[in-house]
């Protein structure tokens, strides 16, 4: 029985590494082949960047706990596999005008507002 318990614990696979900022907002990053680097006051986790002075903690999680409006870089948009408007129509990056879009990358899905 103890061995079975060990099996369950060891077999657990986390999908995300979730970062929490000092104001309580969370952003989850997929952990598959994830690399984190630090450069000055910036931590880059995969395609995400965080300001170190704003970070309070990180932890592995099984769900995407992202709560905050995140700062999306043009690089992120470059990684977009699919972009949809709110009517569900697939659009290209060049077709994006003012409005709300759903942007899917390899690792995450974003709700993006173009102003």
């Amino acid at each position: 029985m103890a061995l079975v318990g060990a099996l369950i614990v060891q077999a657990e696979e986390y999908a995300y590494l979730t970062f929490e900022t000092t104001d309580g907002e969370k952003a989850s990053v997929a952990v598959s082949s994830l690399t984190l680097t630090i450069n000055g006051n910036t931590l880059t986790a995969g395609s995400q960047t965080f300001t170190l002075s704003n970070l309070s903690k990180m932890y592995f999680s099984n769900t995407n706990e992202t709560t905050a409006i995140e700062e999306i870089t043009t690089a992120t948009l470059d990684e977009a596999a699919d972009i949809y408007d709110l009517q569900g129509h697939k659009v290209t990056k060049e077709q994006m005008k003012r409005g709300v879009y759903i942007v899917k990358t390899k690792s995450r899905t974003y709700k993006m507002i173009v102003k």
Binding site: A6, Q10, E12, Y14, S32, T35, T37, I38, S53, K57
Partner: protein, 649 residues
């Protein structure tokens, strides 16, 4: 059902190896944190990140990755390389307790409190090869150093240097070959190639070769134990193994050669209270050496060196496993201090030697050397011992060969510790010698074979001693009450007591070299006597005059050289071969009147005395020797001669 369970177990183990891991790389160190154990990892002040109690400076972190690397709890892996820097990998659960400093392949670890480590201690696993590296450890908690195929050479210091004063296991992983080499430093800036201030437990079913080039090969400031390990010490400027408090060998295969001093030396720890042996060696500071299993091969060649030296008692038995000890010493006398000459010995116990088992082959070919030597008592109750002193005497070229008057052997023996000479002796004890069992064969080319500065008491075992001086010599009383004893002197008495000699039982075959020596010599001049009270006696060359013979003795005036005789007492026949020379006449005694035949053919029996005798012998042929009652008194006149005896049988 059993097969199903095996499948389940195999599946579980497979899955257990697939845990997610957060790797934090800091220079040449990778900290590995299992994702399931990390919990919340906290950032503080833009400067630090703390994971599982380990706080990193963010500016030190090269990168972090998440992968499926398996992490072994409690493990610190150190991989040496000849190209670049050693890589150190630290399991997350012990990361907070370990602070590594890496300079090329010189790895220094400071280990702090590990009381919170789950169930076990930290293991430092060393692998790889470097010609300029080191493993140094400081701290205050027990740990294991696992040698997993490492070739570690430090040209400027010790290969392994552990300042931690706690117990350290040095374990060679099963099947691995490991080599440690230190550099040469004439100033002896470090104590050993493998050094630990605390206890060392040498173990594992791999092999470890140690090349010591500065002082000792292996040194502990505390005790050392050996179990299972194949340990080869190829060189040392000082001792092969040096330790304090006590040394235990339970099993394994230890070979020591090329050392500049002793093979194994155990001293007392000066700062601790001196004890005797304690239960489970708890807080023991005895200076004792316990060899209770395994194979030990030692060759030493340094003047005054000892194969094994205990400042306490040297115990040899087979309590843990079969014990096989082979020691060759060619070192001779250390005369660096002419007022305090030091003789070499294969085995030395300052306080005592106690042997109850094992197969010992001890050969000292050095001048003035001894096979076994103790400043205290010698007790033998078992084992198979072959002890040879093949060297000549030191500081005197002729004594021993010519023989000295019977009854004064003790006085002469006393001179052996004087400042200007050392005599080569087979086995020497300053205290009493007690033999209760075992098969013992002693040879001394130049001086006494078995010598005690106190008493000798033999109640069992088989003792065969051939020597150029007294074969068996006691400065005080000698008693034989059982066992089989042969004292064969080619230059003096067979058995020589400088007090009383009591023959109460057993079988004694004694041979002297010829007049004025006798086979059985008590110190009549000093007011002592030979008491024949029992046992079976064959005394070639006669016995001390004025003896007390409460058991009847018989004699024949002559005997034939190199001839098999059969002595029958009651239903027991003992066949013995006469030497190539010896004192004239023969005195016999037994529980009942013996009969003697000369020129017999031995067809069966139990061979003893290195082939010179058979107990429970079946013989045929031969001619009856006429025996006369012997009432003591004078000897048989000049006899012996006829050249020197044959070699070591």
């Amino acid at each position: 059902m059993k097969r199903t369970l095996l499948y389940i177990v195999a599946l579980m183990l497979t899955i257990a190896a697939m845990g997610q891991t957060l790797n934090v790389k800091v220079g040449s160190v990778i900290y590995q944190f299992p994702a399931t154990q990390t919990g919340e990892m906290t950032y503080a002040d833009s400067e630090t990140l703390t994971i599982m109690g380990k706080t990193f400076s963010l500016s030190d972190i090269d990168k972090m990755t998440v992968d499926n690397t398996n992490v072994t709890a409690n493990l610190v892996d150190i991989a040496y390389t000849n190209s670049g820097s050693a890589m150190v990998t630290i399991a997350g659960n012990v990361a907070q307790y370990v602070t590594p400093t890496i300079n090329g392949n010189h790895v220094t670890i400071v280990q702090t409190n590990t009381e919170a480590v789950d169930e076990d201690e930290i293991t430092y696993q060393l692998s790889g090869t470097t010609t300029d590296g080191e493993f140094a450890l400081d701290g205050s908690y027990k740990c294991t150093v696992s040698l997993a195929g490492v070739t570690l050479t430090n040209p400027s210091g010790p290969a392994i240097n552990i300042s931690n004063k706690k117990r350290i296991q040095i374990s060679a992983k099963n099947g691995t070959v490991n080599t440690l080499t230190d550099g040469a430093d004439a100033n002896e800036s470090w104590k050993a190639c493998l050094y630990s201030k605390g206890q060392i437990q040498l173990q594992g079913k791999g092999s470890l070769t140690v090349n010591g080039n500065t002082k000792h090969a292996i040194k502990s400031g505390d005790y050392i134990t050996v179990k299972n390990l194949t340990l080869n010490i190829h060189s040392a400027v000082g001792d092969g193994i040096s330790c304090n408090k006590y040394f235990v060998m339970n099993s394994g295969n230890v070979t020591i050669s090329g050392v500049g001093d002793d093979g194994i030396q155990c001293d007392l720890e000066d700062d601790d209270e001196v004890t005797g042996e304690t239960t489970d060696h708890e807080d023991e500071n005895s200076g004792n050496v316990y060899i209770q299993g395994g194979t030990l091969n030692i060759s030493t060649s340094a003047a005054g060196s000892k194969g094994v030296k205990a400042v306490g008692t040297l115990y040899i038995n087979e309590a843990s496993a079969t014990t096989i000890i082979t020691v060759n010493n060619s070192g001779g006398v250390d005369s660096s201090d002419t007022s305090d000459l030091v003789a070499s010995a294969c085995l030395k116990g300052d306080k005592a030697i106690d042997i109850s088992g094992g197969t010992l082959t001890l050969t000292n070919s050095g001048q003035g050397g001894r096979a076994m030597n103790t400043d205290g008592t010698l007790t033998i109750s078992g084992g198979n011992i072959d002890a040879q002193a093949q060297g000549t005497n030191y500081g005197s070229s002729s004594q021993g060969g010519g023989g000295f008057p019977g009854g004064w052997g003790g006085g002469w023996g006393g001179n052996s510790s004087s400042s200007n000479h050392k005599y080569a002796k087979g086995v020497k004890a300053d205290g009493n010698i007690t033999i209760k069992g075992g098969t013992i064969k002693i040879y001394s080319k130049s001086h006494e074979g078995l010598e005690s500065k106190g008493t000798i008491t033999i109640s069992g075992g088989q003792v065969y001693v051939q020597a150029n001086d007294d074969a068996i010599n006691a400065a005080s009383h000698m008693t034989v009450s059982g066992g089989y004893v042969c004292g064969y002197s080619t230059g003096n008495d067979g058995l020589d007591s400088n007090g009383n000699m009591y023959i109460k039982g057993g079988l004694v075959y004694a041979i002297c070299s010829g007049t004025p020596e006798v086979a059985l010599d008590a110190n009549t001049e000093g007011g002592y006597k030979l008491y024949v009270e029992g046992g079976t006696i064959i005394a070639i060359g006669g016995i001390e005059g004025g003896s007390s013979l409460s058991q009847s003795c018989y004699s024949a005036n002559s005997w034939s050289r190199n001839t098999w005789y059969a002595l029958t007492v009651g239903n027991d026949t003992f066949a013995f071969k006469t030497p190539s020379s010896g004192g004239s006449g023969i005195v016999l005694s037994g529980a009942s009147q013996p009969s003697l035949k000369s020129g017999v053919t031995v067809s069966s029996g139990n061979s003893i005395f290195s082939g010179m005798g058979y107990t429970d012998a079946s013989v045929s042929g031969g001619s009856t020797v006429s025996l006369s009652s012997y009432s003591g008194g004078g000897g048989f006149g000049p006899g012996g001669g006829g050249g020197f005896p044959g070699g070591w049988h």
